[in-house]
């Protein structure tokens, strides 16, 4: 079979995968793809936010009673930690664009640390206490305060469900950042340009934004 020379061979950019014509098409494709993924995640969390909004509107008092047991201090600490991690993530992308690998790695590492701190605070300080106080939904649930125990349990169902799902996304982010750091360290060709870091950054900012909504909705809810 004849193999006429393909224009693709004319300028061989080894950053470009075979299905793309040029670097620009590849970059655009990856960015659009990542945004599609984020849109999809928004719908994913969005459905939960809808459910929460509906129930909160229905059971305002009980939800307020329940939320008073949440520790605003730890919530605020976590919010700060996550915002800081978003900043360091943005810095990492910046250094990646400038090809300053050492600084990029340092920023990625700091982001990683913040993410781990977030999970630690959540699990050790917040959730552990909830387990101790029997606020976790299920057969162990026991509520001694005022308000309808049934609706309080509903609040905690949503609280653990949503913050838990968010936590899973933070964990996924930790793993992905870790892999990115490893591949950058080993100079894998696929991470040689800044786009993978930018995509991870986009994901991380999304995870942060979800928390920015979760925090006031759960912790700061007024009566």
């Amino acid at each position: 079979m004849a193999t006429t020379a393909t224009p693709h061979g004319a300028h061989h950019d080894d950053r470009v995968y075979h299905q793309f014509e040029d670097y620009e098409q590849q970059t655009d494709s990856y960015v659009i793809g990542m945004w599609c993924f984020v849109v999809q995640e928004i719908m994913f969390f969005g459905a939960l936010f809808m459910a929460y909004t509906l129930y909160r509107w229905k059971y305002q008092d009980d939800f307020y009673q329940a939320r008073q047991t949440l520790n605003i201090l730890w919530g605020a600490v976590n919010t700060t930690v996550l915002l800081t991690s978003s900043f360091s993530m943005a810095l990492a992308v910046h250094y990646a664009q400038q090809k300053k690998q050492a600084l990029q790695q340092a920023c990625l590492f700091f982001t990683l640390l913040c993410a781990c701190a977030f999970l630690f605070v959540k699990l050790y300080f917040e959730w552990a206490e909830k387990f101790r106080l029997h606020h976790v939904m299920g057969p162990q649930f026991h509520w001694t305060g005022s308000g309808s125990p049934a609706h309080i349990q509903l609040f905690f169902s949503l609280y653990f469900g949503m913050t838990g799902l968010h936590g899973v996304h933070v964990l996924a982010g930790i793993i992905v950042i870790g892999i990115l750091m490893f591949m950058t360290h080993k100079n894998y060709p696929s991470v040689r340009d800044y786009i993978p870091t930018e995509l991870v950054g986009l994901y991380w900012h999304f995870v942060d934004i979800v928390w920015i909504f979760l925090f006031p909705l759960f912790y700061l809810m007024p009566k």
Partner: protein
């Protein structure tokens, strides 16, 4: 117009050419492939497998229903059978079928690209589908699910003692397989069109896949989280839908149908895309009203998101909600009607070739019109109150899903089979199967409209209360289903047979216009020897003759050179 006779020389030349099928034959070259065409083939095998499972379950259900007192099953087992049928068919066949097989194979070629935007994600999506399928099989072997594919709470979350968690996890994963396909398609259509391929030169199949992909990424996550919540309720007591905790079981229905209604458009839009292609090719004419057909796909996708409450007219949502949903449901019928009329007009002053794909397309027209119009009975609340929850609904959705989607899938499979596998299927058996399927389908599902009107509820194992009234129709329906089974089995047999023994296909056996017909049958791994530059409009049948002649020449040249290579050896 039959396929051109191919000479002996061309046969051996074609058979020896390097294409995506023979480019590597180890297991890992298949299981670790990034080639969208190989992935499409693997999808074809897997969805056919699940179709078989779903069909067997359906057969058992139909057998059981010949007697008002059942035949051989317990109530619970019957419930598990129709649940398995629904879950398998909806999540593991209808949603992926055309997008993951024909879409995966054709989309890059139709836009003139070498592959999809994200080939590795494409492979991941197949693996997610397979793992999801394994979870489903596990659920079935460990006792099955009895909730129906709709998993209504609180039955599914608190009362059912079957493998609900496994089943919803399977659907959850299958959903992500679908989402990844959608992302891939959207980016490919936006960014990977070859030079000259503007949006309004795109084949209507691509428009349909694009609209489908939009629904996939916007709708699927909602059902994913809904099903996840059901699993969480069973495993972690997160009682979001539990009335004991003040939760609202009807909220589940809202969240579920918010996806599952658009999902039916995921199932039918690709089929409509296929029909556009077949109507054009076998009328040898541009599709009438190209822009209307293209935009109607987008309109269906958009409107499809705001009608979900028509599944819930009697669910205790407010009367006003119901009326609004009813109004919008009538609106969403209009773009589908526009398509049907445009396809019909395509035939006007065309050159109609009644080959197998066209028979499927014409069957689609008739059955989809009936299916779509019977939706009006259900969109109209006054009649829906009587008909919801009965066999009328079952008949309606089988008309659109089987008479529509499956018929279109089979039509598309036959149309592009020569392209995909380089082999022709036996035309006589193709026509036979199409006719048998059509007849069997009508005999199976027409009586069910009457059953529904008479009041026979769906998901009923026993119907002894009104046995005399209902039984004749059930017997008719079961009889029809055996004919339908034969009609569906036939392509499975002769298409598989054709892979080895079918007549080798030429580049463009149906003389159709489209980028996929400019490349070899089967295509090389890179799809095109040289990336195309498009200078013609879609379905440019007028200009086609000159272009085809040019391509035939080029091919003969190639063939001549290859022959010389062979002769040297």
């Amino acid at each position: 117009m039959s396929t051109k006779a191919i000479s002996q020389e061309e046969t051996s030349h074609i058979a020896e050419r390097k294409n995506y099928l023979n480019n590597g034959s180890s297991i890992s070259s298949w299981l670790l492939t990034f080639d969208h065409k190989r992935i499409a083939f693997m999808y074809l095998i897997s969805i056919s497998f699940f179709f078989l499972i779903g069909a067997i379950a359906a057969g058992i259900v139909r057998l059981e229903l010949v007697s008002p007192n059942g035949v051989m099953l317990e109530n619970e087992t019957f419930n598990k059978m129709f649940s398995a049928h629904g879950i398998t068919m909806v999540f593991f066949f209808l949603v992926p079928s055309i997008p993951a097989t024909l879409g995966n194979f054709l989309l890059p070629i139709m836009v003139g690209a070498r592959d999809l935007a994200f080939p590795r994600m494409n492979l991941l999506s197949w693996y997610l589908y397979v793992i999801a399928g394994i979870l489903l099989l596990l659920a079935v072997f460990m006792g099955g699910v009895d909730t129906g594919w709709t998993f209504y709470t609180p039955f599914s979350s608190l009362y059912s003692k079957t493998q609900v968690t496994l089943a919803v996890s399977a659907a959850f994963l299958a959903g992500f397989s679908s989402i990844l396909t959608g992302i891939n398609f959207i980016v490919t259509v936006h960014k990977m069109r070859c030079p000259g391929m503007t949006w309004d030169r795109l084949p209507l199949f691509v428009w349909a896949m694009y609209a489908t992909s939009l629904i996939m990424i916007l709708g699927t996550p909602v059902v994913a989280i809904t099903l996840l919540l059901v699993a969480f309720e069973r495993v972690f007591s997160i009682g979001v839908f539990s009335p004991e905790l003040g939760g609202d079981p009807v909220l589940f229905q809202h969240m579920f149908w918010f996806y599952s209604h658009p999902a039916v458009y995921i199932m039918v839009l690709p089929g409509m895309g296929v029909i556009s292609e077949i109507m054009a090719a076998f009328s040898r004419k541009r599709v009438f009203g190209y822009h209307f057909v293209a935009y109607s796909s987008l309109a269906i996708a958009a409107l499809g998101f705001i009608v979900w409450g028509h599944h819930m007219f009697v669910s205790s949502q407010s009367m006003y909600q119901g009326i609004v949903f009813s109004l919008v449901s009538f609106l969403v019928a209009v773009p589908s009607a526009i398509k049907v009329f445009n396809w019909t007009a395509t035939m006007y002053k065309g050159n109609i070739d009644l080959s197998t794909p066209m028979l499927y397309a014409l069957g689609f027209l008739g059955l989809f019109v009936i299916g779509g119009l019977t939706g009006l009975y259900l969109a109209c609340i006054g009649t829906d109150v009587h008909l919801t929850g009965t066999y009328f609904v079952v008949a309606h959705f089988h008309f659109v899903m089987v008479g529509g989607s499956v018929t279109a899938f089979l039509g598309g499979l036959h149309f592009w089979w020569p392209k995909m596998f380089g082999r022709m299927y036996p035309e006589f058996w193709g026509k036979m199967a199409a006719l048998i399927t059509f007849v069997g389908f009508i005999v199976t599902f027409m009586p069910q409209f009457i059953l529904g009107f008479l009041g026979m509820p769906r998901r009923y194992h026993l119907y002894y209360f009104a046995g005399a009234e209902f039984q004749p129709y059930h017997i008719m329906s079961t009889a029809g289903s055996s004919v339908l089974a034969v009609g569906l089995l036939m392509p499975a047999l002769y298409l598989t047979w054709s892979l080895k023994y079918g007549e080798p296909a030429s580049r463009n056996p149906f003389h159709a216009v489209g980028l996929e017909w400019t490349t070899q049958s089967p295509p090389p791994t890179e799809n095109f020897d040289t990336p195309p530059v498009v200078t013609w409009e879609a379905y440019d049948y007028g200009e086609m003759e000159a272009h085809e002649a040019h391509l035939d020449e080029a091919e003969l040249e190639e063939g001549g050179e290859a022959k010389k290579e062979v002769e040297k050896l």
